[in-house]
């Protein structure tokens, strides 16, 4: 770390004020701390300070077995736990040379997309709160609850699923699960239309978000952005299309792309992604193949042959990657997570300068970070 927020304090001029936004603040979405130097309502300097939620999961992985690492992965980005399971399993399967059966692949896609919906719903709700509209939050949570119920039925957990396992998935779908899911899809479609009425095209909301936080495509790429944030800046980069995994190439969906990369574009990209995810869910439900759900050749205590690999998926927050190094033992030699939240967060120090305090919340919310993934 080059410079902490505290270092700035003595340098203040008489007409400037230093404010700690966080770590305990209603809208930092966790324990992020931003040291803000303000002049009236205008921000002169902003220094994001991370590390309050560091649990050392990457280091812990070095003494855990491969099956146990899946459990650890649930805790990075707890809103997109399926994606984390998926990316770790993908990396480990690559090293071990395990084939995932067709049904398991599609079940994974189903869960990933449902989880993307749940994650974007939480973003939708909390972003509403950031801008000051409280009702959207509870409406989003009502629908998110349904997705969580689906997850609960299939794996017993509502947050840390551990459903995607090495070689496939944990369990076959329960008897009524498909019916429930088929009920959910049209119900949620109606709700998505309501969201646009409630929040997306509200003039105050547009006024708050369309005018601030514009990031051009080049700038976004230069800062290493990925996911909906990058797509909102006009770069149609999506791992699901660019480098299809787990039979994503079989499904037909579009990549929502924004125009000028404003906060509203980032917001609306996510809303449109929920539509696309629903499309994929529908397609999976339409033609789910029969067959086994666990691939052969995964030992109870699996050992990967020595070597290293990189696997990446399109997580809910962006390009989520794993660099996995094995020395042939029963636990990884080194595990590194390329966490999109952490990378997306860094631009804050440049974006916030010159904005108002209200815009800090709008911009921070629109980047949609999860502190569990930032600090890991």
């Amino acid at each position: 770390m080059t410079e902490t927020a505290a270092d700035n304090k003595p340098k203040l001029k008489s007409d400037q004020m230093f404010i700690n936004l966080g770590p305990q603040h209603p809208s930092t979405h966790g324990v992020l701390r931003i040291g803000l130097t303000i002049e009236g309502e205008i921000i002169v300097n902003a220094v994001p300070d991370v590390g309050y939620l560091h649990r050392g999961t990457e280091k812990l992985a070095e003494i855990r077995g491969y099956h146990h690492c899946v459990v650890l992965s649930d805790r990075w980005d707890y809103l997109n736990a399926m994606g984390n399971n998926m990316v770790f399993c993908m990396a480990a399967e690559k090293l071990m040379g395990v084939e995932v059966p067709e049904r398991a692949q599609q079940l994974r896609v189903l869960m990933l997309e449902l989880n993307r919906i749940a994650s974007h719903l939480l973003f939708f709700g909390t972003y509403g709160i950031d801008i000051g509209a409280f009702t959207a939050f509870l409406h989003a949570f009502r629908e998110r609850e349904m997705v969580l119920d689906l997850f609960e039925m299939v794996c017993g957990a509502r947050m840390t699923y551990n459903y995607i396992r090495l070689g496939g998935v944990m369990k076959e779908l329960p008897k009524e699960w498909l019916d429930r899911c088929r009920e959910f899809v049209p119900f949620f479609k109606k709700r998505l239309a309501e969201y646009d009425d409630l929040l997306s095209f509200n003039p105050i909301f547009l006024d708050r978000t369309k005018t601030v936080g514009a990031v051009g495509g080049k700038e976004a790429l230069a800062w290493g952005w990925s996911g909906p944030n990058l797509r909102a800046s006009g770069v149609p980069y999506d791992m699901r299309k660019f480098q299809p995994y787990s039979s994503y190439e079989k499904f037909d969906f579009e990549i929502p792309v924004g125009k000028d990369g404003s906060c509203w574009d980032r917001y609306y990209c996510r809303v449109r992604e929920m539509h696309e995810s629903l499309k994929i869910v529908e397609q999976v439900l339409g033609g789910l193949p029969e067959g086994p759900i666990l691939g052969k050749g995964v030992a109870k205590v699996p050992k990967a042959p020595p070597g290293e690999t990189y696997a990446a998926i399109e997580g809910a927050r962006g390009d989520l990657g794993i660099h996995l190094v094995s020395d042939g033992n029963m636990s990884p030699y080194r595990l590194h997570v390329k966490a999109p939240s952490f990378i997306n967060l860094q631009i804050l120090q440049e974006m916030l300068v010159g904005q108002k305090i209200s815009d800090v919340v709008a911009i921070l919310g629109s980047i949609d970070i999860v502190l569990g993934e930032v600090d890991r």
């Binding site: 801008i131 509870l138 929040l199 909301f205 108002k356 209200s358």
Partner: protein
């Protein structure tokens, strides 16, 4: 690790040899220990309320794998029909009650009053005093301002102090139903009506925490400075008939003057808390309230011009009667001018009461809680009370200025008392305020100022000019 297996093999082999030998040996199985009865699972259900029947706790593992019952309950859309029937019932009941009170309540009251003095007369006669003195006392009580005025003040004071209790409950219910929740359901006999009373008692019992960096006296004084004018401002508001604390000729000016004092209290709270968020909230609040006083004041100039009076009672009286026999002569129905001034007054009132599209002084997601971040217990609830009192005041003013006060909306409805119409219109406007709060996002600070100075103020000037043209021709 590598050494262990060779050592541990031996006991394993020994076990394997013993095991087949041991199997046929036991002749009769050992007596089973008595099975301990497990306690029956207690489901987390509300004992009486039908909405919670059959809704077992989601936390129980048994339900986790088979969430069918919960699921069906949750997926059912809210039944608006029942709510509409209930609302119609409540409104009808209130109307009937109001008519009955108006018809028979006053006669009952007069009978009680006469009985009281008859008893007093007998007591006086028994004590040897003349009957005249009692009659004189009765006449004095009925005519003198020394008896009736304090009574009125106490009554009006209780309206202000009790109304927020109801309004907070109402706001919580409205917000809950807008967000597909129930809201408070437990305290009280009907849908949690006493929730706010319970919360009030809790707040009264809580500790008043003062930060070390606070300016002690300013911090302590601020809630009173905010709350006191909020109560005083109600003095010239008529709650029907003679029930008015002080019928001042310049009541409009008085109300605005009183409401303006609260800004000082909010500034004091912002400064005295010794917290940067509070300070920012206080500054924002000062800027906003001072700015919005102007369009708010100018918006009612046409009304004052039409009514020719600054007294609320006379402004309301000026709106009696109808056009064409069915359109009430309310100021909101004056073409263009009426609607424009109502809109400006409405927007400015929402801003003055610090409610949601304009709640930048206490913007939760930005300034934590703004100027009342560092307040707890009763001091916090005084801010709360002032906010709701001001909201009620704004709605009372709007119904008096634009909706004809106590005049009925249709000519045939004269039999329902005026205070019922007045409070009914006020409550409808309060609902509008709450609707705003639970659907709109928050404006940004500079936009709030832009809206005031660049939009509302010029239009309110233009509106006064329109009204002048109206009166000319």
């Amino acid at each position: 690790m590598t050494d262990k297996p060779s050592e541990s093999d031996k006991p394993d082999e020994a076990k394997k040899e013993e095991a087949p030998a041991a199997k046929p040996a036991p002749a009769k199985p050992p007596a089973k220990p008595p099975v301990k009865e497990l306690p029956k699972p207690v489901f987390n259900e509300h004992p009486t309320h039908p909405a919670y029947q059959g809704r077992a706790s989601r936390l129980l593992h048994a339900n986790r794998m088979a969430p069918n019952r919960v699921w069906e309950d949750k997926w059912r859309l809210p039944r608006y029909r029942n709510g509409a029937i209930m609302l119609a019932g409540i409104l009808g009941g209130l109307t009937v009650g109001a008519v009955l009170i108006d018809r028979f309540g006053m006669t009952v009251w007069m009978k009680l009053w006469n009985t009281l003095f008859a008893v007093l007369g007998r007591v006086a006669a028994a004590a040897g005093a003349s009957a005249d003195s009692v009659a004189a006392a009765k006449a004095f009580a009925e005519t003198s301002p020394w008896i009736w005025s304090p009574l009125k003040v106490i009554l009006v004071l209780h309206v202000i102090l009790v109304a927020p209790i109801f309004l907070v409950w109402w706001e919580r219910k409205i917000s809950a139903h807008m967000q597909s929740r129930f809201g408070p359901m437990y305290v009280g006999w009907f849908h949690g009506v006493l929730q706010t009373v319970a919360d009030g008692i809790k707040l009264l019992l809580k500790e008043n925490i003062q930060p070390a960096s606070a300016d002690s006296w300013v911090h302590r004084l601020a809630p009173a400075v905010v709350c006191f004018p909020a109560i005083l401002a109600f003095a010239p508001v008529s709650f029907g008939g003679d029930l008015i604390a002080a019928d001042i000729d310049v009541s409009v000016v008085y109300i605005f003057a009183m409401a303006g004092i609260s800004v000082v209290g909010i500034m004091m709270a912002g400064w005295g808390s010794g917290n940067k968020y509070s300070l920012l909230g206080g500054l924002r609040s000062a800027a906003q309230l001072v700015s919005y006083e102007l369009p708010r004041g100018f918006a009612i100039m046409p009304v004052i011009m039409f009514a020719g009076s600054l007294s609320l009672v006379r402004i309301a009286d000026a709106q009696s009667g109808t056009w064409f026999g069915f359109v009430p002569r309310w100021f909101i129905f004056y073409p263009v001018v009426g609607q424009l001034s109502f809109l400006i007054f409405l927007i400015a009132s929402v801003a003055e009461t610090n409610r949601t599209p304009f709640d930048i002084p206490e913007a939760e997601s930005e300034l934590v809680a703004g100027f009342h971040t560092e307040y707890s217990g009763m001091r916090f609830s005084l801010f709360f009370l002032a906010e709701y009192a001001y909201m009620l005041l704004a709605c009372l003013l709007m119904s008096a200025f634009f909706f004809g006060g106590g005049n009925p909306p249709l000519p045939g409805l004269d039999f329902v008392p005026g205070w019922y119409w007045f409070l009914g219109k006020t409550m409808a406007l309060v609902f509008l305020f709450m609707w705003f709060r639970w659907t709109f996002p928050r404006l940004r600070v500079d936009r709030v100022m832009d809206l005031c100075w660049k939009f509302l103020l010029p239009w309110s000037f233009a509106n006064i000019a329109f009204a002048g043209l109206y009166l000319l021709f």
